[in-house]
Each structure stands twice: as C-alpha cells, then as structure tokens.
C-alpha cells in the first residue's frame, strides 16, 4: 500500500450480482437462433417492425404481433474496436462491435468476427451468423462477406 494513500476500510461484505432475465416474450428469437435462423417482430395492427424484437408495439401499443424473417445480409453503418473491456469481459476482449443495417431498415448491434480494424469500412457487406447454438446462451455475430 502506498504510504501516501489515506486510510480506507476495505469492506468485508461482498455481493454477487447475477440476474435471471425474463425472456418469455422474446423466446422465439432465442430458440430460432439456436437453429441459426434470425426472426423479429412485426405489429399486425400498424405494421411496425422492431429490432430488438418486442411483442408489444412501441408505435401503436398493440400486442397483436407476428414473427417475421429478419434476414442476415447487412451493411456496416459504424463500428468500434473495444480494447478496454468491462470487468466481466476481460477474458473475451478485445473485440470489434458494429451496427449493421438489414432489410426493412432495421439495425442490429453485434460483434464482428474475422476482420481487423483496418478492414472494416462503413458500407461494407456483413452477414449475421448464430454462435453457441447448442448452449443455453446463444448469441450472434457479424462476419464480413468476402
């Protein structure tokens, strides 16, 4: 300990914060993802399409929604290369993250695999792919379309 540091009490009481996040209303997205398919929500009353999916329409407040194909072809809108990661990602970093624009104007934020910072350019073609499909926690990434 630095002798010039003021005295502090290093608390003995620790807290393990781990949340059980309800996903009932978006479960079809996650189940579909395990099969490598991407779907999202469309309001049957006003036609609003949303990503992230939400079965309750933010436009007209109807809950009369259907699931539609999201597609996987995207165009890179913007990106970054995360070097200093949050504490729970220290074993995963560094990583590229991009926002990609899909059909119907919807955008998705996800990691980009298989590209360097120099290779990533706004406007380039990306494709969504599922990852970790056999596990309880599937996720998805963009990969550049070569």
């Amino acid at each position: 300990m630095d002798a010039s540091e003021p005295p502090t009490l290093h608390s003995r009481r620790t807290l393990d914060l781990r949340f059980n996040i309800p996903i009932s209303k978006t479960n079809r997205f996650w189940e579909s993802l395990k099969e490598g398919k991407f779907i999202t929500t469309k309001c049957k009353d006003c036609g609003e399409v949303t990503f992230p999916p939400q079965v309750d329409c933010p436009s007209c407040m109807s809950s009369n929604s259907e699931w539609i194909d999201l597609g996987t072809e995207a165009e890179l809108v913007t990106f970054t290369y995360v070097v200093i990661t949050p504490t729970s990602f220290v074993d995963s970093g560094p990583y590229h993250v991009a926002v990609g624009k899909l059909g119907q104007g919807l955008k998705v934020l996800a990691w980009v695999e298989g590209a360097t910072t120099e290779e990533l350019k706004p406007g380039m073609k990306l494709r969504l792919e599922a990852r970790n499909g056999s596990a309880a926690s599937p996720y998805y990434v963009f990969v550049p379309v070569k």
Binding site: T80, T85, T87, F89, P122
Partner: protein, 400 residues
C-alpha cells in the same frame, strides 16, 4: 407566451427562479472522504455563498446514479450528514444528466410555490470500486440484454461508434478530436478544482492507450469523485438575498432510444437537438446569443457533436469551429473553460450541477482568469445522459 411541451420556464403559472448560491468540491480521486463528507463540501459552500441559514432550505434533491459506493440510498445519508431534517427529498437519476435532472426538480419545487428555497446537489463517488468495474456499471447503462450481455459495450464504445461515423461522413480526424482534449486541459490547468491541472499536447493524446478505437485514454473523461450544489430561490426571495441572481430562463429536456441500433444516425444526438430547440424557444433566444456554454464532453467526439447539435455551427463544421479557436475565451462561443468533463473530471451525478456552478460564476463575473466576456448575459448548460439517452439544456441569464 409560447408553449413548448416538455420545457420549463417563463410560464405565467410558474414563479421566477434564480440560482443564489453555488458550491463545488475538488474533483478527482477523493478517497480522503466518504460520500456524505464529499457532498458536505459543496453543500456548505452553496449555503455560505447564498448567505442563508440551512434551515431555510425546504427541498433537497440529490442527482446521483450510484452503484459504485456502499450507500444505496444516498440522499438520506447526505441529508443527515449536512443536517437537513424534515425536508422534501429524493434522489433522481438521468445517467450522466442526473445533476441537471436534480436542478429541474428543485426548480419545479420553487417555481410551483412548494418551496421558497430549494437545493440541488450533484454527487458521485466512483473510485471505491476498481476502474473496470466502474466501466462495467456505466456500460450496462445501454440496453442491457441486447448490447451488454453478449457484446460488452462500454460508454467509450458507444461514443467511438459516433466518432467513426462522424469521421466517415465529414472527414473528422483523430487529431481533430485530440484538439478537444488539449483545450480542456488548457483550461483545467487554470481551475484549482479540476481533476487534471496539466496542459497536454496533441501528440500526447494521439499516443495514449486505445480505449475503444478510435478513442484513446486522453479522448475520455476520467472516473471521478466529486460533488456540486446550487441553492435556488423564488424571485422575491432571490432579490432579497443577492444583487447577482442567475435566473433559470428555461430547461429543455429530451430523450432517445436506449438501444443504439434504434438510432436514426450516428453523427449527432437527436436528444440534444430537441432539448436545445425547446430551451431556445421558451427563453426566446437563439444559439448566437449565448455568451458562454458548458457542453457535455464525456468524450472528445461528444463536444464536437454538441457544437453542431446545439446550433453553434452547422452540422459537420464542429471541428472547424474548434480549430479556429472560436470555442476558446475570446472566440465566438467559449465552451468548457473550466476544463470540461475531460479535465475537470466527470463524477457523473455531479456534472450537471457543476456546469450550473461554472456558468453562474461566469455570468456573475467571478471566474477570475478564466472569465469570458459577457455581452448578452446569457449562458447555456448542455448535459447529456448516456449517449443521448437523456438530454437537458438549461438557459441561464443575468436578467429575469
């Protein structure tokens, strides 16, 4: 009068409200004080500056996000330590705009007639946890399930995405961004309450550690502890207390999506555009009438976008405004001449109140060697929560 929804000020049904007392702690790594002791520093300062007895304060609103220190209900411990009892009180949260949200609540208390004297305190104690934990707690402030759980976004990462889009669209360079930090440190070196009081060079910014490309360590505001406080009074009371009341002309508030994927674009913050237009409209001013401004420069790109979104220049011309020296003292619109979030520090709940303190000092003519020439008597506070998730724009004036 104009009616602009979501905007406060100049209403026939509300009383005039002025800032009559200001207090500000030293910002930085303040492990010499507890959270309540840190708040006390600015609360006592504001009470003494207002020349009131603290028993006259009827409402205390605390702006604080919390989660990084041991007190989970901080308003109560702050009130107890500073000796406020039986006051109307709450903690409010609007991410990094929590300070402005606290001022809005205190403003409403006085303007509505609930109280004659109210206080807004901004407070954050972020260094009791390690830096990566602080980064995580901020990063979780987007849309958790879709941005953090799988992709580990941080606030540097969000702003980096805006920087990349701005660079791609307008040819903005990393050197352009670095100039924001150099200006911030230039003024921070003149502010004894700032976390960083040393000048830096463009080269130092460019060669610093990449945090989230293209943003580097010196593009980012630091993790900070600090507090700031303002005493607000009704028109009648303010005139009795001081010859230099600083009137709150308007508070424009706005918001945008939590999830970045739902934004229309990444070269500006629509919440800033909306909040500022509301604030200008109600105060009956334009951006050209602002003598001095504090803008939300949590990252260098944020200050460039703020110039543009607030209408200090056209979209895409923010880097030129800076390069031409127009946002320095003596320029067209001096911005962040207290060092800004970048050099003064960014204890997130304290920041909005700290901005009110600085602009009040400037409009009173008490800013010393950092004093900006005051022509129209109008100052502006631009306080963003998250990446434009919230925005508050407050117009302050020497005249009622």
């Amino acid at each position: 009068m104009d009616t602009v929804k979501g905007t406060l000020g100049l209403s026939e049904t509300l009383r005039g409200v002025a800032i009559v007392g200001i207090g500000h702690s030293k910002f930085g790594r303040r492990n010499d004080v507890s959270v309540a002791e840190l708040a006390f520093e600015s609360i006592r300062g504001a009470v003494e500056d207002a020349g009131i007895d603290k028993k006259q304060v009827e409402n205390v609103t605390l702006g604080s996000v919390g989660g990084w220190c041991e007190e989970t209900v901080p308003a109560t411990i702050v009130n107890e330590y500073s000796g406020f009892q039986h006051v109307g009180s709450m903690r409010v949260e609007a991410a990094c705009a929590s300070g402005s949200a606290a001022v809005k609540n205190a403003y409403l208390s006085v303007a509505s007639g609930e109280s004659d004297i109210a206080m807004a305190v901004g407070l954050e104690k972020m260094t009791e946890v390690n830096t990566l934990t602080a980064i995580e707690l901020m990063g979780r402030g987007g849309s958790y399930l879709w941005e953090f759980e799988n992709f580990g976004m941080t606030f540097a990462s969000y702003y980096a995405m805006f920087a990349v889009a701005h660079m791609n669209r307008f040819g903005t360079t990393e050197e352009d961004l670095a100039r924001v930090a150099v200006k911030a440190h230039h003024y921070g070196a003149m502010n004894p309450l700032a976390q960083f009081q040393k000048e830096i060079t463009i080269e130092k910014v460019l060669s610093s550690q990449v945090v989230s490309w293209p943003l580097k360590l010196y593009d980012a505001s630091p993790v900070s502890d600090g507090s700031a406080a303002v005493v607000l009074a009704s028109e009648e009371t303010a005139k009795k207390l001081t010859d230099t009341p600083i009137w709150i002309k308007s508070i424009g508030a706005s918001s945008d999506s939590a999830d970045m994927s739902r934004r229309d674009g990444y070269v500006g913050l629509s919440a800033t555009v909306d909040a500022s237009r509301k604030a200008y409209s109600v105060a009956k001013i334009g951006p050209e009438m602002v003598d001095v401004a504090n803008c939300h420069d949590c990252f260098t790109i944020a200050e460039i976008m703020a110039y543009e979104d607030l209408g200090f220049c056209a979209k895409g011309e923010g880097t030129k405004l800076l390069k031409d020296g127009q946002t320095m003292i003596g320029g067209k619109i001096p911005v962040n001449v207290d060092g800004g979030l970048k050099a003064k520090g960014h204890p997130i709940g304290a920041t909005g109140v700290s901005m009110m303190v600085e602009i009040s000092k400037q409009l009173r003519g008490e800013a010393g060697k950092r004093q900006v020439p005051i022509k129209n008597g109008i100052g502006l506070v631009h306080n963003v929560g998250g990446t434009g998730h919230y925005c508050y724009v407050t117009v302050l004036s020497r005249s009622r």
